[in-house]
């Protein structure tokens, strides 16, 4: 996905918003204290305020600059995020090998899928490597395969 926007305007706004959220959350939830006897909120509040300033300044720079092409690769982004999420969901229920398997397959969907033979080859070899390194090499107590039914 390619859009032509004033990149820093968006970035600056994000920073500004994060700073505001941090500052407001800190002021309302934690004791700020005085410089001589600082509460837990003092440092984060100062940081939040700094971020608001920075965000504002970046916005101004962005507003005055020209628009640029911003590229957001949707397919790789979604594929990798979904792959990791799937891994996190499958691992506790089904164990190491199924989790790795689904991780690899979904990751490969970030680009045009190689043929079924190549996909299987890649998946199986990565599953073997994972097994060798994590189970045999590092001896992590992780179930390889659980059948919950």
């Amino acid at each position: 996905m390619r859009i032509n926007v004033k990149q820093d305007l968006i970035g600056g706004t994000c920073v500004l918003v994060v700073g505001l959220i941090a500052a407001i959350h800190t002021v309302t939830s934690y004791d700020i204290g005085t410089p001589a006897s600082m509460g837990p909120g003092f440092f984060p509040l100062s940081l939040g305020i700094l971020l608001v300033f920075f965000g504002f300044s970046i916005c101004i720079a962005g507003w005055r600059s020209n628009s640029v092409d911003v590229v957001f690769e949707f397919q790789p982004f979604l594929a990798i995020c979904l792959a990791i999420a799937a891994f996190a969901l499958i691992l506790p229920t089904f164990g190491l090998l199924p989790a790795v398997c689904i991780l690899v397959v979904v990751s490969l969907m970030a680009q045009k899928l190689p043929g079924i033979l190549k996909t299987t080859a890649i998946t199986v070899s990565i599953m073997i490597v994972a097994f060798l390194i994590f189970r045999i090499g590092l001896n992590i107590p992780l179930p390889i395969l659980i059948w919950p039914f």
């Binding site: 410089p35 001589a36 440092f43 971020l51 990798i80 989790a99 680009q111 992590i140």
Partner: protein, 507 residues
């Protein structure tokens, strides 16, 4: 003077004892080998590799962990030049300059010579820098032992400001990233009051966001997402051992650039904020400016390959000086190495050399072993790397994602960490898309809690008097330096935008 010499000799002895154990030589080899692989492969840099291997180092002694990760770090400088020369693709940021003259040399059939001379340049530069480090670190540490909280806070501020503003682009974006990193580092239980901060009710966050998960997400996941569509490996020409032998002319033209590159690299490497990439660019610019015939550059001038490669290796070695002697990391990668030490319960800095001399000197001596190993890997075993470069990236990245996920899980046997990797990875990718520098975020994250501790302690001791940072001579000087740096960066940015405006108005 004599005690320094004596303690240097003592240090060398302790260091050799530590570095020459079978385990440490093995991990050094492993680190260098992995570093070469990572350096050769475009798309993964030292930072990503160290992030990925971070959790596996928990099973080792801290010294061994440090030796291995350091091996990866300077190993990438050796490997990166191979890809730059053979494929015109930088293997890593600091090797990008080698493309300019290295690739033309390859096209002219002189790839072997280019590869050979870069390896030699890297080795010579690293050796000289290691000596510099051996001599200067104890001196710096002895001076810094008197530092207290105000000095450490000031030094960290300087380091962070330098690291985030020296790069290209809007320095405020770098500063914003540092502050964001510090904020993220503050998640968890407050050190003085025990109040959970920004944990949003999740017990898992009481210990804060894990450094491993953050590093892997930010540099591993985000890097993979951005690289999938863009990295191309594949067709590589073969290089015979015979073709690597340089001619007398080559040597004559190269030895001075190598020494100059070493000097530039050693200087910029020790500065927080600058690093191997800056050093390699500066070395190239220097060579081009003082060359008798600058037009040769860009067309296969051997100085254009040797000097930057010498510079980036020199910078890699001297980059350890501020981290080890002062506890101030000069770059995100150093920040990560600092994080490794912190997790093992060791605070790098002036006291580390006294309390853990075996760790410091063991590390320094391992640099010698490492560079020797890398020299062997780079020259006789060059065929190995050429074969590696023929694997297409789109088969490699699922393995990388697997390492990330399992590695993150294995730190605490916690699925929560995997979710953190996901969240941080998505954030990291968004930051890249919006053109924010990501490395300062990691630096802020690692240094943030330390900074806050020093800040609060300084304020407690001074009873709320903020002028304490300026009234003490050392911290005052450092704060003034920071202010000057900020002014210089602002001036540079304004003059650059004025130049851009002028250029636009001419069009």
């Amino acid at each position: 003077m004599m005690e320094h010499l004596q303690s240097l000799v003592d240090g060398v002895v302790v260091g050799l004892e530590t570095a020459m154990t079978f385990e440490n030589i093995l991990v050094c080899f492993l680190g260098c080998f992995l570093g070469m692989i990572v350096g050769v492969l475009p798309g993964i840099g030292a930072l990503a590799a160290i992030s990925l291997l971070f959790p596996y180092t928990f099973y080792m002694e801290p010294t061994s962990a440090l030796i291995m990760l350091a091996g990866i770090y300077y190993g990438t400088a050796y490997g990166g030049s191979i890809t730059s020369i053979l494929l015109n693709l930088p293997g890593g940021a600091s090797s990008a300059v080698a493309c300019l003259d290295g690739y033309p040399m390859a096209r002219q059939g002189r790839a072997g010579v280019a590869l050979f001379m870069t390896a030699i340049a890297s080795f010579v530069a690293a050796s000289i820098s290691i000596i510099i480090m051996m001599v200067s670190s104890p001196v710096i540490a002895a001076f810094a032992v008197q530092f207290r909280s105000p000095e450490f806070f000031a030094l960290m501020v300087l380091g962070l400001v330098a690291a985030s503003t020296i790069t290209d682009g809007n320095p405020i974006k770098g500063l914003a990233m540092v502050v964001l990193g510090i904020l993220m580092g503050g998640v968890g239980l407050d050190m003085y009051t025990g109040v959970p901060r920004m944990t949003f009710g999740s017990i898992n966050l009481f210990d804060g966001i894990g450094l491993t998960a953050l590093a892997m997400g930010l540099f591993g996941v985000a890097e993979v997402i951005s690289s999938i569509k863009s990295i191309r490996t594949g067709e590589v020409l073969n290089v015979s051992l015979r073709s690597m032998i340089p001619s007398r002319d080559d040597i004559r033209q190269s030895w001075r650039p190598i020494l100059r590159g070493t000097g530039v690299g050693a200087f910029f490497g020790a500065l927080p904020g600058a690093g191997p990439s800056v050093a390699s660019f500066m070395a190239y610019a220097l060579e081009k400016n003082i060359a008798k015939d600058p037009s040769r550059f860009g067309k296969g001038a051997i100085e254009g390959v040797c000097a930057p490669e010498a510079a980036n290796n020199a910078a890699d070695q001297t980059g350890f000086i501020p981290t080890m002697a002062l506890g101030i990391p000069g770059s995100a990668t150093m920040g990560l190495l600092l994080g490794v030490l912190l997790i093992h319960g060791i605070t790098p800095g002036p006291t580390m050399m006294q309390s853990h001399p075996d760790m410091f000197w063991g590390l320094v001596m391992s640099f010698w072993t490492g560079n020797l190993i890398l020299l062997v890997l780079s020259i006789p075993l060059i065929g190995l790397w050429i074969r590696l470069l023929s694997i297409p990236y789109n088969l490699l990245y699922p393995a990388i994602v697997m390492f990330i996920c399992l590695g993150a899980y294995s730190v605490n046997a916690s699925i929560f960490d995997v979710w953190v990797v996901l969240a941080v990875g998505a954030l990291g990718y968004l930051l890249r898309v919006l053109n924010f520098p990501v490395a300062p975020l990691l630096l802020g994250f690692v240094l943030g809690p330390l900074m806050e501790e020093h800040f609060r302690r300084a304020m407690i001791i001074s009873r709320g008097e903020p002028m304490v940072f300026l009234s003490r001579p050392v911290s005052g000087t450092i704060m003034v330096l920071t202010a000057l740096l900020l002014l210089w960066v602002a001036w540079r940015k304004m003059s650059r935008s004025r130049a851009n405006n002028n250029a636009e108005s001419l069009v």
